[in-house]
């Protein structure tokens, strides 16, 4: 137990010493890792912002079904129940004639003439079912259900939806999807490049120390004792790179908020991005640390593998 602790602390210390000794190699490897992690963090934020934008737009869409005055409460309850059971439906809200009137009045508070005219007649507004689809494309399914003769005969007017806005929303969704895919592609490409470069860096470090490794092997050092310092070294790369990448994004937001007056940049809602980043600061830092440590450790483990094999061909 004690020997294990001694060995462990020696591995850590050797890794740190090697990190300092190979400073230039370390800087090269860290630079590419920082770029990668920054791009990953950036795309995570952009992705969240786009999701938020699309979500907000989608939330504004609903389908309204207007019921005839002759429809009994039982009929309307069963219709609401059926709608609720549809997979395409996220949310159903039933407005009775009185509710509809109240809402109408609330929407037209300033317009005293109109309100007066309505109050003079017997409530002209129909009972309404407001249906919120899960996604944009679910509207079609909901419409199909509403237009079935069974349900259609209960309705006073054809159902209305935000059909005119639909095309614009579809375009926005399409554009954000493309941007997301490009972002994901960039993330993958940079992650691969980063792993390759770190991999090469470690191989260079190993090449510089191949005599030492050979001697360690001949003296009976275990694989983990030889590999450990390299893994520690690359984990240090990962930790530094993760912290620096978060700081870079932080700096971008600080300069953006002071120099850019606008709160959004094309499709990108910068104020949302910023609040997303600030609310999840520690969470994002933790994710970055995990990613950096993973990339570092994985590449050094793979890079040392070849040099640590025992030469035991059976002929």
């Amino acid at each position: 137990m004690r020997a294990k602790f001694t060995t462990f602390s020696r591995i850590i210390r050797t890794g740190m010493v090697n990190f300092v000794r190979n400073m230039w190699l370390a800087i090269a490897a860290m630079a590419i890792m920082i770029v990668t992690l920054t791009i990953i963090l950036f795309s995570v934020i952009v992705n969240a912002t786009f999701s938020n934008t699309v979500q907000q737009i989608t939330n504004k869409i609903d389908v309204s079904v207007y019921l005839k005055d002759s429809v009994t409460p039982a009929q309307s309850q069963s219709l609401v129940g059926q709608l609720k059971s549809l997979p395409a439906v996220q949310h159903v809200r039933y407005l009775s004639k009185e509710d509809a009137l109240k809402q109408y009045e609330a929407q037209n508070v300033g317009n005293t003439q109109l309100l007066q005219a309505i109050n003079e007649t017997d409530n002209p507004l129909p009972a309404t079912i407001k249906i919120k689809p899960r996604t944009l494309n679910d509207i079609d399914q909901i419409r199909a259900f509403i237009e079935k003769p069974d349900t259609a005969k209960l309705q006073s007017d054809p159902a209305s939806d935000s059909g005119d806005r639909r095309e614009a929303i579809a375009k926005i969704t399409h554009a954000t999807n493309i941007l997301r895919r490009v972002g994901a592609g960039a993330v993958v490409v940079f992650a691969v490049i980063s792993v390759l470069i770190i991999f090469n860096t470690i191989q260079m470090a190993i090449f510089n120390r191949r005599d030492e490794l050979q001697i360690m092997r001949l003296l009976g050092a275990s694989t983990s004792y030889i590999r450990g310092p390299f893994v520690v070294e690359t984990i240090i790369y990962g930790i530094f790179s993760a912290i620096i990448s978060v700081l870079i994004i932080n700096a971008v937001f600080v300069t953006a908020s002071s120099s850019l007056q606008a709160t959004s940049f094309g499709l990108l809602d910068i104020s949302y991005s910023q609040s997303f980043f600030e609310n999840r600061y520690w969470e994002l830092l933790l994710i970055q640390l995990a990613l950096g440590i993973f990339i570092g450790a994985a590449s050094s483990i793979i890079a040392t593998r070849r040099y640590l094999k025992f030469k035991t061909p059976k002929r």
């Binding site: 004690r2 001694t6 030492e212 050979q214 092997r217 009976g220 002929r315």
Partner: protein, 257 residues
């Protein structure tokens, strides 16, 4: 154990009694060139001092590489200090090497570490505490007559001194077997003899020593068991031998008949 046949029991006893056992060991690197070692059998008892002589390419180095498990034999059995190499898994190789001390012709010291650190290195990698290292290393450096040179770098030492550092590193873990592969190969006669004297001292303390050398003077002055290898075979095996290149040639000629 009780139901085993007698010959099996005998084998166990042999394993316990012998430090090194090679039984018809053959090593072939390249089938077109013939074997580097051809059915070599060798028994070494504990605390023995064995000198292995032979021309370059005779198979000395191959023999030592088989013992340190840098190479696997093509066929045959190797048992060192009770460890059967057939049953040795790759991940146990480090454990085997911790039990065998090895000294190389080219020293294989770490150039960027002091004498003390080079010797301490062998203990560090097996997890010995710093306190124990500080306690043990000076004693071992004393054995190899390098007291007072702890803080020198290998570059500042003579060849003989460097080789003694390497020996200190090999024996600091108190191995049962010390394998020295031409330790005097790069040294002048005076320094070579210093190194050999250290090996003799270690042997006196109870370590089995296996020494390969080209140096006739070393062989003659030591007057120990000498095993001659020629073309991958053991040409002669004599206790307390006295050798010249002529006698080696006679041995080889006799073996060929």
């Amino acid at each position: 154990m009780y139901y085993q046949p007698v010959w099996r029991l005998a084998k166990h006893i042999v394993i316990i009694v012998l430090m090194i056992l090679l039984d018809r060991v053959t090593k072939t690197y390249n089938k077109n060139l013939g074997p580097a070692l051809d059915r070599v059998s060798l028994h070494v008892e504990p605390k023995e001092f064995v000198i292995i002589v032979g021309q370059s390419g005779a198979g000395k180095s191959t023999l030592l590489k088989l013992l340190t498990r840098e190479e696997r034999p093509t066929s045959g059995k190797i048992i060192v200090g009770g460890i059967d190499y057939d049953k040795l898994r790759d991940r146990d190789i480090p454990l085997l090497r911790r039990k065998i001390g090895v000294v190389f012709q080219d020293f294989k010291l770490l150039p960027n570490r002091t004498v003390f650190e080079n010797v301490a290195f062998a203990l560090e990698i097996v997890g010995v505490s710093t306190k124990e290292i500080n306690n043990t290393v000076p004693k071992v450096l004393d054995i190899v007559n390098l007291k007072g040179k702890e803080k020198r770098m290998p570059m500042e030492l003579s060849g003989g001194e460097r080789q003694r550092v390497a020996i200190a590193r090999a024996i600091v873990r108190q191995p049962k077997v010390l394998i020295a592969d031409e330790p005097t190969g790069n040294l002048d006669p005076k320094h070579a003899w210093d190194v050999i004297k250290v090996l003799e001292k270690i042997n006196k303390y109870g370590t089995t020593v296996l020494l390969t050398t080209h140096n006739q003077e070393v062989v003659n002055r030591l007057r120990r068991r000498v095993v001659t290898i020629d073309h991958g075979r053991i040409a002669s095996d004599k206790a307390r031998a006295n050798y010249t290149s002529a006698t080696i040639a006679v041995d080889i000629a006799a073996a060929k008949k």
